[in-house]
Structures are given as structure tokens and as C-alpha cells.
């Protein structure tokens, strides 16, 4: 192992992206300070279930990284800059192999090779998976490797510390960060040669989402308020079927609809009767009625929008944001065989048996395509500040394909790490008066804490959070209207005013939730405005961003990245062109092959046969298929491997069944 030459990188966030970067930096012999709100092994990455994409082409399908690239760009409605997407897809097979070597129990073929399954947005078996908990398994593998470096002394973990701000010098260069100890509330400066943000998504801005409770986006928002640009904030992915909970939303796999699940609400608004006492004639199967050809198997974006609209119009069960997803007409034995594991998840968290009681579901905020603006080396506009994973905006464009999130996290970390080292090698260290900026920033942050503790008012921070979540969910998710977006921004301004009158309701400041939450809340409000105003400005529909008043994609006006920059008045928006140098944008058109897809889906092909705005199976366009022109990117994919690995031709029936049972078991978290 190389000896350290004194480079110290701070990484904020211990999920897949943060740990991937930590491992790479430590491996190069440099030092890492790793900050995480929770012990890193408990990061949100554990929630991803579906799998990780990489065009390994072991199924004799002629898959290639280029096709993966094309699917990703197409699925993202051409909003992503193409070179980093291409680089990611080229690196993907080697990422999967690396995790295999690190001991991830990926599912196997009969020959003992890695098995791959199909996912939305592609025709190829490209998704490696470990049971129904791929994210958990990948995170653990990195956690183990990073622990190895922790024992070796190169990685120092600060678990239970939350980053509250960057430390910027007089030239707006990041020189470290201030973090808060969540037990003692101590604020401390951590000098670093570079800072890598890897903090995940901001789902909690929407109140309840499928995200974990640490996914506030707070640290990223702090960077934004200190001058970091935020890209494509308005692109928020909403999954059509999640299980509403009092505490959060949990995903329900779409295989439930694939297996014949029917979506309905009572025809009468606010009907308080139990589902079983509502006769067939008084049930509104709105998807079947509005889309007779596809019925419940409409594309996911349509399903999401329809369910959302029905509830917004007051038809949700008991007036709430819920509709029935009914499986009770299917024999219990059939359900057990085909959907066993996902029904158990529902039972565990709801307590009802979906074999006999219709499930209650609602679309749930799931993923942010937007995030910190970064260049092709994961560098933000602030020198010394990098970002990777869901908290950067770079890979998924207007919409993310299933099983691409895990690979983008690892890719981001693997690019950010060498980029941070390179930067650190060339930077001039602070001079003798360097310590001033650290002391100043700690003092500034301490004043914020003191003010929050001191102030007393009538507002309740948790209620402000709830209100923000409700407004954001109602108006800035699935269906967006300009007047409502404007009202939402006004509401956010009101909430920001009211925020000044909150009082911390915990007189015991030891290990309190209240103060950290109050700080997160302020940051979430700032980011909520970025999302809302970005959506207000963008008058088109693209990927996850849908405006009924502007139903079409408008490349001429809007094939542009939204850039938000902080000012005291609010976000300042500007736009930059998208790098489309590799694949020419084309319309996403599902008019062909729909019949075929519908037939496949009804034959029980679960989700993968569904045409969908966000991730449709695509027929490769003749001639669009090219060999990568340049393999000298950050990762070189070994073309020869394809010949060695291309041994599985055709599938046996058992393997296909195996695929399916695992698909049924999970596939929930990572799909749309």
C-alpha cells in the first residue's frame, strides 16, 4: 500500500457513492474523513431492491454498453449530457464484476455465472441482482472494504455527524466543512483538500416519500446556498404504486398489476363503506374505463398521473390519497406462487392480507434526477467541491430507468475519487492565516444554532414540514399547473417567514432531534423553491415533468439543463445546452409494438413488458446502433470479455421461473 502524502478528502454521505469514493481514495493511499448522519451501513442505498444494470451480454442477445447508453439517454428523454452517461455504461460491467469479487451474493445461472434479468426500459437481460435486496448487498460489500481501510487507519468515520456548511476561502474555494455532532450539538471545522458530496436525494421535502428519513437534501442545500449550482431540480420521479403509511411510503412492485391486479375507487366521493360492501356496480375501475385497450397495464407514467388525478378530484378512498389495488379476485394459491414475497411486505407494514382485502396504494415520490451541477469529472462549480450519486444531476436526464441508480452511484464515486485526488495534488494549501476561515465558519454556524435555541414563537417545525410536504406533493409532483406552482412558491415563502417563529420544542438538547431537524427544514425550504420554480419556468412536458397545458416535449426551447443559483431573493435560473454529441434526440414513440407489449404483459411478463414514458422497452432503431467511438474514457471496457462470457445461449425454463420469482419478490424499490 502506498504511503500517504498528506492528501485528505472529506466525503459527506456513506451510501454507495460515498463509500465507492472512500474506497478508491484510500486505495490510492490518501486519507478520508467520512461523514454520515447514520452509521454508513444504515444508509438509504439499502432500500434499492431491483438490481444493477451493466451490459455484460451473457445471454447471447447482442447487448452492449452502447445499447445501455442509448436506453438510458432515451429513457431520460435526452436531457442528460451524453458523454458521462456513455462512460458510465462502459464502466458498468466492470463495476458488477468488482462487486462480484467483493463477495456480493449475486444470483447465478446453472453454470455458476452471474445471472441477469430484464428491467423496464430495455429489451435485454442487463440487470444483475442479489435476491430482492441488491442495494443492501452492494452497500454492505463497500462497507466491508471501507472498514478494511478504517482498520488500516486511512478512513476515519464520523458517524452521527451532520454536515451543516462548507468552509469557503476568500476565493470561494472549498477548504473543508463544518459538521455538527448529533449527540452533543458540537460544531467543528474539518479542513480538507477537497469535499465530495454523496448525500443522496431530497425526498423528505415532499413530506412522505419512499426515501429514508435521512434523505433531506439538507447538506446539498447548504452547498447551494453557499454558491453551488443546482441542476434540473424540477425532475422528480414518482413511482405509481406505493403503500401509503403514516410515516412513509413503501413501494409496491408493479408485478401486482402484471398479475391481474385491478385499480379502483368507489364511484361516490367519500364513500365510507368497507371495500367488500361496495358492490361491483359502484366501483370505478378508472384505468380500465379510460384505457380499454391496456386497462390496468397502462404505462407507468399514465398510471401515476391517473391515480393522482382521481385523488386530487376527491375520489380517493374515504377522501384520502389512496386507491384500491385489488387482487382478491385471484385465487390465493396463485397469488402465493407468483407474488408471495411482495404480499408479505404489504402484510408486514399494513397488517392486512392482500389475498382477501384490496391493497391501498398511491404514487410516491421516489427519486430526484436533479441535483448539484457537476462537470464530466463530478466537479461542481465550486473549486474543491465534487458530488456523486443521487445528489448530483448528471446521469438520468428527465427520468431514471430502473436499476440505473445503483450503477450511477458507484460510477459517480469512482470518477469523483480520482478527480478529487488530482485536484488536491495541485492545490495550494492555505497559508498561515488559513485557520481564520475555519473559526469564522464555525462561529457563523454556532450563531444559527444559538438563535434557534434562543428564539421562541408559536410555530411548530414539524407542522411546517408537514405543510411543505403536502403542498409539494399536491402541486409539484405528477401533474403540474403554472398557477398552482406559483401558489406553491408563495406558500413556501410564507413558510420561510413562519420558520422564523418556530421554537425548538425540546428543552433537553442532548441527542435531540429538534435542532438538527430545524436546520434541515430551513434547507429543505430553500431546495423546495428550486424544484418549484424550475418546474414553473419549464413550459413543456419531458420525462417526469408533466404539464397538461404544455403536453409535448419542446426541444427547440427546452432541450436545456436548468441551473439554479442561490440569491437572497430566491433561486436565479439559467439554462445551458445539453451535450447531445453522441445520439441525436428522437421522439419517444410507442405507437409501434404496443400490441405485442400488451400481450406480453398480460401473459405475466410483469413490469418489463410495459411500454412506458419513463422506461419503455425499445426496439433498437436500425442504424442507431454504433460501436463506441472512444473507449479511452475513465473506464475502459474490455471488449474481449464479451467473447469469453458469451456462453449462455437461450434460457432454460427453470431459470426463467427463477427470474420471475425474484422479480416478484422484489423489484420494488428501484423501478419506474
Amino acid at each position: 500500500m502506498a504511503t500517504t502524502n498528506g492528501i485528505r478528502i472529506a466525503i459527506v454521505g456513506g451510501g454507495l457513492a460515498g463509500l465507492a469514493a472512500a474506497m478508491k481514495i484510500a486505495e490510492q493511499g490518501h486519507e478520508v474523513d467520512l461523514f454520515s448522519v447514520v452509521p454508513v451501513k444504515r444508509s438509504h442505498s439499502v432500500c434499492a431492491q431491483g438490481g444493477i444494470n451493466g451490459a455484460v451480454n451473457t445471454k447471447g442477445e447482442g447487448d452492449s454498453p452502447w445499447k445501455h447508453f442509448d436506453d438510458t439517454v432515451y429513457g431520460g428523454d435526452f436531457l442528460a449530457n451524453q458523454p458521462p452517461v456513455k462512460a458510465m455504461c462502459e464502466m458498468a460491467p466492470s463495476i458488477i464484476y468488482l462487486f462480484d469479487r467483493m463477495g456480493v451474493p449475486f444470483s447465478r445461472t446453472t453454470e455458476g455465472l452471474l445471472d441477469f434479468r430484464r428491467f423496464g426500459g430495455t429489451l435485454h437481460h442487463r440487470t444483475a441482482f442479489a435476491g430482492a435486496s441488491t442495494g443492501q448487498q452492494l452497500l454492505y460489500a463497500l462497507d466491508e472494504q471501507v472498514r478494511r481501510y478504517e482498520v488500516g487507519g486511512q478512513v476515519k468515520k464520523y458517524e452521527g455527524w451532520e454536515m451543516v456548511s462548507l468552509i469557503l476561502d476568500d476565493h470561494q474555494v472549498a477548504r473543508g466543512l463544518v459538521a455538527m455532532n448529533l449527540q452533543t450539538l458540537e460544531l467543528k471545522a474539518f479542513p480538507a483538500d477537497a469535499v465530495i458530496m454523496a448525500t443522496g436525494g431530497p425526498g423528505l421535502i415532499f413530506g412522505k416519500s419512499t426515501n429514508s428519513m435521512v434523505c433531506t437534501g439538507s447538506a446539498v442545500a447548504a452547498c447551494y446556498t453557499q454558491g453551488a449550482r443546482y441542476g434540473n431540480g424540477e425532475f422528480i420521479q414518482v413511482h405509481p404504486t406505493s403503500i401509503p403509511g403514516e410515516d412513509k411510503l413503501r413501494l409496491m412492485s408493479e408485478s401486482a398489476r402484471g398479475e391481474g391486479g385491478r385499480v379502483w375507487v368507489p364511484r361516490e366521493k367519500g364513500d365510507a363503506r368497507s371495500s367488500s360492501s361496495i358492490p361491483e356496480s359502484e366501483r370505478w375501475y378508472f384505468l380500465e374505463e379510460k384505457y380499454p385497450a391496456y386497462g390496468n397495464l397502462v404505462p407507468r407514467d399514465i398510471a401515476t398521473r391517473e391515480i393522482f388525478q382521481v385523488c386530487l378530484d376527491g375520489y380517493g378512498i374515504g377522501g384520502e390519497n389512496q386507491v384500491y389495488l385489488d387482487l382478491t379476485h385471484i385465487p390465493a394459491e396463485t397469488l402465493d406462487k407468483k407474488l408471495g414475497a411482495i404480499l408479505e411486505i404489504y402484510e408486514m407494514f399494513v397488517g392486512d392480507d392482500p389475498r382477501h382485502v384490496p391493497m391501498r396504494i398511491f404514487p410516491g415520490v421516489h427519486y430526484s434526477m436533479g441535483g448539484l451541477w457537476v462537470d464530466y469529472y463530478q466537479r461542481t462549480n465550486i473549486p474543491g467541491l465534487l458530488a456523486a450519486g443521487e445528489c448530483d444531476y448528471s446521469i438520468h436526464g428527465a427520468n431514471r430507468l430502473g436499476a440505473n441508480s445503483l450503477v450511477s452511484c458507484v460510477y459517480g464515486g469512482f470518477i469523483a475519487a480520482p478527480a478529487a485526488i488530482e485536484y488536491a495534488k495541485n492545490i495550494e494549501r492555505n497559508g498561515a492565516d488559513g485557520s481564520r476561515i475555519y473559526d469564522d465558519e464555525v462561529r457563523r454556524q454556532q450563531e444559527i444554532n444559538d438563535q434557534l435555541i434562543r428564539q421562541s414563537g408559536t410555530e411548530n417545525q414539524y407542522r411546517i414540514h408537514e405543510e411543505m410536504g403536502k403542498w409539494m406533493t399536491d402541486n409539484v409532483t405528477v401533474v403540474r399547473y403554472n398557477d398552482r406552482l406559483k401558489e406553491t412558491d408563495d406558500k413556501l415563502l410564507e413558510l420561510i417567514d413562519r420558520y422564523d417563529h418556530i421554537s425548538i420544542n425540546d428543552s433537553n438538547l442532548w441527542a435531540t432531534h429538534a435542532l438538527p431537524h430545524a436546520r434541515q427544514l430551513y434547507n429543505m425550504l430553500q431546495l423546495a423553491r428550486v424544484i418549484t420554480l424550475g418546474a414553473l419556468n419549464r413550459n413543456e412536458s419531458r420525462g417526469a415533468h408533466y404539464k397538461p397545458d404544455f403536453p409535448n416535449r419542446d426541444d427547440e426551447m427546452w432541450l436545456k439543463t436548468t441551473i439554479a443559483e442561490y440569491s437572497g431573493e430566491g433561486p436565479v435560473l439559467s439554462y445551458e445546452p445539453v451535450d447531445i454529441s453522441l445520439i441525436e434526440p428522437r421522439k419517444r414513440d410507442y405507437s409501434k409494438g404496443k400490441k405485442q407489449d400488451a400481450a406480453k404483459a398480460s401473459a405475466g411478463a410483469t413490469t418489463s413488458g410495459l411500454p412506458s414514458k419513463e422506461g419503455a422497452p425499445q426496439v433498437p432503431v436500425e442504424g442507431s446502433e454504433m460501436k463506441p467511438r472512444d473507449l479511452t474514457g475513465p473506464a475502459v471496457w474490455d471488449q474481449n470479455k464479451e467473447e469469453v462470457r458469451d456462453v449462455m445461449r437461450g434460457e432454460t425454463e427453470t431459470r426463467r421461473e427463477q427470474d420471475k420469482s425474484i422479480e416478484d419478490a422484489g423489484g420494488k424499490s428501484d423501478k419506474l
Binding site: 451501513k41 472498514r147 403514516e246 441527542a511 474490455d638
Partner: protein, 264 residues
């Protein structure tokens, strides 16, 4: 006008629900070393409440059942899908995750207590960093040559993968240690770490450095402290075959102890 003005609580509820409430007793501690005390809370019943939702409700306006203003209870939570392990506590006397503990399935009053085998930070929060130290002690990782591209990993039988997968689901929640009568501070490393030894030792590459892991469970606090109470498997939320891991690794350590010296 639109649903945005509708409060979340406007859902029509029937008579029974209006009258019903949930009584929760929480064992609290202000800070390490402070006396523990019980506080009782009452919140309105709603269908499909889990313990986390109850705690969130109490946190918003922390008033005890007898009307006394108090501090909000502190607890850990994150994924709320029973995969991160952080929200583990003792509920009605049984150690489990609070996210998957549903009020409808619990007897009332519901009692919430912190785990007892780990230092109590505040209220329901405990410090389980000891469990991560265990993982260091047993070298719970595969010694890869490097993270650069060295091609695919070793081929594996799906049966072996399935067995490893079961161990690999351990989320370090600590239920097994809480329930183990032998586990107390540094007396016994416990089933969690032993299962991870099993996970790593089963891997074709992991096997090559097996001995170091075995040494990690052969000290005074090692595997022989297992009293075979089998509580660990009963409480494991991930149904990990912990006793099987202990059996297998016990055998490996015995073989290693008898013949390990031959390698030198």
C-alpha cells in the same frame, strides 16, 4: 379549491375510531448515567399505525397522558422498511424493529424500552458501535487485490449463493445480541459476528484468508461462549440461520485449532 387545502386528518372516521386511542409507555433517560423513568402518552387511534408513526405523533406535541408538558422522546429511525436496522428497540418486552411493529398487532398499553445490552444514549437510542468493532475484529471482508478491473469473480453454485445470501442480509440491528443470555459487554462476541465469519469463509476468495477470521472468534470472548440457548435465531428479523453459522464455525475453529499449526 384543490386538494391542497384539505388537511390530512379530514378522513371520515367511524365512531369506534374516534373514541379509540393508543396508550404508549416509554422508558426514558435524559442522558447517559441519568435515572430511567417511565412516561405514558396517549394518541388518537388511526388504522395502520406503526410504532414510528406513534412516536412522530408524540414528538409533534410532547404532552404526557396526565397533561404534563415534557420533552419529545428521542429514537433512531431511517429506512422504515426493516432493512437498515437502526430503529430496533424492545417493544412489549420483545426486541424488534419499531418500523414493522404495528399497533393493531400489539397489546396495550404498549411499552417501548431501549435495548439493554448497549450503552443507552438517550430515551430509546442506544450506541451499537460495538457491533461494527466486532466486524473489524473478525476481518469481515473479502481481501480483494484491488478495486480495479480484474474481470469476473469466481464461479459459484446457486445453492452456495443462497446460503451466503441469508447471512448477507444481516443489518447489524443487534436483536440477536439483545436476546442472547451469554452476550454481555465484552464477554462474548456473539452470533452477529460469527455469522459474518461464516459469510466470508464460504466465499471462494474469502476462504483463502479464513484462518485470520477464525482467530478472531477463538479468543476468550470467542465462539465457545455460546450457551446454545438459541434465542438468537428466534428473534432475528431476517431469519438468518445463526445457530447453523455457530455450528459450522465452531467446527472450523476446532479443526483450525487441532491442525492449524501444521501450516507453519
Amino acid at each position: 379549491m384543490s386538494a391542497q387545502q384539505v388537511e390530512t386528518t379530514t378522513r371520515p372516521v367511524d365512531e369506534r375510531e374516534i373514541q379509540k386511542s393508543v396508550v404508549i409507555r416509554i422508558r426514558r433517560r435524559e442522558r447517559p448515567g441519568a435515572e430511567q423513568r417511565w412516561e405514558e402518552f396517549e394518541i388518537p387511534y388511526r388504522p395502520n399505525l406503526n410504532i414510528i408513526s406513534c412516536l412522530m405523533e408524540i414528538r409533534k406535541n410532547p404532552v404526557t397522558r396526565d397533561g404534563k408538558q415534557t420533552t419529545p422522546p428521542a429514537w433512531d429511525m431511517n429506512c422504515l422498511e426493516q432493512v437498515c436496522g437502526i430503529c430496533t428497540m424492545v417493544i412489549n418486552g420483545r426486541v424488534r424493529q419499531s418500523c414493522s411493529a404495528l399497533v393493531d398487532q400489539l397489546d396495550e398499553p404498549i411499552t417501548l424500552e431501549p435495548m439493554t445490552k448497549f450503552p443507552n444514549v438517550r430515551d430509546l437510542i442506544v450506541d451499537r458501535s460495538r457491533m461494527f468493532e466486532h466486524l473489524k475484529k473478525v476481518n469481515a471482508w473479502i481481501e480483494i487485490d484491488g478495486s480495479y478491473d480484474l474481470g469476473p469473480g469466481p464461479r459459484m453454485d446457486q445453492d452456495d449463493v443462497s446460503e451466503r445470501y441469508a447471512y448477507s442480509r444481516c443489518m447489524t440491528c443487534g436483536c440477536c445480541l439483545e436476546a442472547c443470555p451469554q452476550y454481555y459487554e465484552d464477554q462474548y462476541i456473539g452470533p452477529q459476528a460469527i455469522a459474518q465469519v461464516r459469510l466470508m469463509n464460504m466465499h471462494p476468495s474469502g476462504k483463502m484468508t479464513r484462518d485470520e477470521r477464525l482467530e478472531g472468534i477463538m479468543g476468550d470472548d470467542g465462539i465457545t461462549n455460546c450457551g446454545n440457548a438459541q434465542n438468537c435465531v428466534k428473534v432475528c428479523p431476517m431469519s438468518i440461520p445463526l445457530t447453523k453459522a455457530i455450528y459450522e464455525e465452531n467446527r472450523e475453529t476446532v479443526v483450525h485449532g487441532l491442525f492449524g499449526w501444521l501450516k507453519w
